[in-house]
């Protein structure tokens, strides 16, 4: 299986990369390539120019500021999993990334590549929505920052112009914030039949804010805001987790396919929302005991 012919460049600066991207009608950024290369081999994608960004310096880092965790877009999945800063601050990142494909793919695939691929079944994207991530983007006309909730426009369609590159993922650090991601998949490391990310902030045991987001239930990763409303302002309990789970299941209308009918996926949403909230809650209790 060989892709159609294409040209390949491997610039060493971001400016050069952006210039190359602006130079061709039909070009693609090649990051880790763990989604793009298979697509090209199947000839579902056949760009004329590939702009490899693996040799760009300074796009692979994980840094903690007082209020935000910064992840360079070219950080490999494995690098995030190996970062105690990232996984202790955000256990939800480990929940999600450790379930993506297998160790070999995680050695090569990148966080930025996953986000720009905008696969509605990606395990990472609901986590980005639940954590209220922001994305830094570099383009020909300079830089911009976009909220994750505005970034995913449609299936495999991020809000990126052809000559733009995602450079950094910003995860706000909040006190007393707890989260979890759970998915159901046919096989270990497989795509999510449904995946659910939850995150809430507690203030004196009352839920000050909550975010719930799901993968593989719509054309894009989606926030389940009606379910979030069941939690905010309340002292969290199994009863309101159950209510939130029921509301979440009612609020989605996933398409059925060979891996699960609409009804089956809605039931998965119900179960996974409840379990993810319980897991996040157990983490909050664990933190109090420390």
């Amino acid at each position: 299986m060989t892709p159609k012919e294409f040209d390949y460049v491997s610039p060493s600066t971001l400016e050069e990369a952006v210039r190359f991207l602006g130079s061709s009608e039909d070009c693609k950024v090649l990051a880790g390539g763990q989604s793009l290369v298979p697509l090209m081999k199947l000839r579902l994608a056949s760009p004329k120019l590939l702009v490899g960004i693996n040799n760009l310096r300074g796009l692979s880092y994980i840094e903690e500021d007082p209020q935000v965790l910064r992840i360079g877009a070219m950080s490999r999945y494995a690098e995030v999993l190996e970062s105690s800063v990232a996984t202790s601050r955000f256990p939800i990142l480990k929940d999600s990334i450790s379930g993506i494909a297998d160790a070999l793919v995680r050695n090569r695939g990148t966080i930025g590549g996953n986000i720009c691929h905008a696969d509605p079944a990606s395990d990472l994207l609901p986590v980005m929505l639940a954590l209220d991530a922001r994305f830094k983007i570099c383009g020909a006309e300079g830089g911009r920052t976009i909220e994750s909730k505005d970034f995913f426009l449609d299936v495999f369609t991020p809000d990126l112009k052809p000559a733009e590159i995602l450079t950094e993922i910003l995860l706000p650090i909040k006190q007393e914030s707890y989260g979890a991601y759970l998915k159901f998949s046919e096989v270990s490391g497989g795509f999510a039949t449904v995946g659910v990310a939850v995150e809430f902030v507690l203030k004196e045991r009352v839920c000050a804010s909550a975010r719930i987001a799901a993968a593989a239930v719509a054309q894009t990763p989606v926030r389940l805001s009606l379910a979030e409303d069941c939690l905010v302002g309340k002292e969290l309990s199994r009863e309101n987790f159950k209510e939130a789970a029921d509301v979440a299941a009612d609020s989605v209308d996933p398409k059925g396919d060979i891996y699960g009918s609409t009804r089956y996926r809605k039931q998965l949403v119900r179960v996974l929302v409840f379990r993810a909230l319980e897991l996040a809650m157990s983490r909050s209790l664990g933190a109090q005991h420390q």
Partner: protein, 156 residues
């Protein structure tokens, strides 16, 4: 492009669309790495690039300019003897048909380079990208544990 494979430098002209696995097998003639599924599922084509085990059917050869690659042929010690991982697979019979073995050896070797006392779960995680449809994995797990023991004893 210039690359170093198993410690030896190579300089080759290569079309961008050539996959790394095809380059390694057909251009360099190193046929130890196998083509199993060619869609990134099976791990028979696993090689080490810049210190990490990756699937060489999911990369292009041109991306290897300036990189160091280790294939299964590169595991053998300079004196011609087998590396502990290879010896352990031999001892524990960690294979049946042998087609997945080059990938298994590379993934196991890569794990033991950074962790010479891995837990059962750490071994399973490291081999999660390598499929074997013969053995049921039991002897492979045993082989990796033995290889870890051999390496620990060597470094004592």
């Amino acid at each position: 492009m210039k690359t170093i494979v198993n410690g030896k430098p190579f300089e080759r002209d290569v079309a961008p669309r050539v996959l790394l696995i095809h380059f390694i097998r057909e251009n360099l003639g190193l046929t130890g790495s196998k083509i199993g599924c060619e869609v990134g599922k099976c791990g028979a084509c696993t090689v080490i690039v810049d210190g990490r085990a990756v699937k060489s059917c999911m990369m292009f050869a041109v991306q290897m300019d300036g990189k160091k690659i280790t294939t299964v042929e590169g595991l053998r010690r300079p004196d011609g003897t087998l590396d502990p991982v290879q010896r352990a697979f031999w001892e524990k019979h960690g294979l049946q048909c042998g087609y997945c073995t080059p990938g298994m050896l590379i993934s196991a070797h890569s794990l033991l380079e950074s962790n010479d006392d891995p837990s059962e779960n750490e071994i399973k995680n490291a081999l999660s990208g390598n499929l074997c449809t013969c053995t049921g994995y039991v002897n492979i797990m045993e082989a990796v544990k033995l290889a870890a023991k051999m390496m620990r004893e060597e470094t004592k």
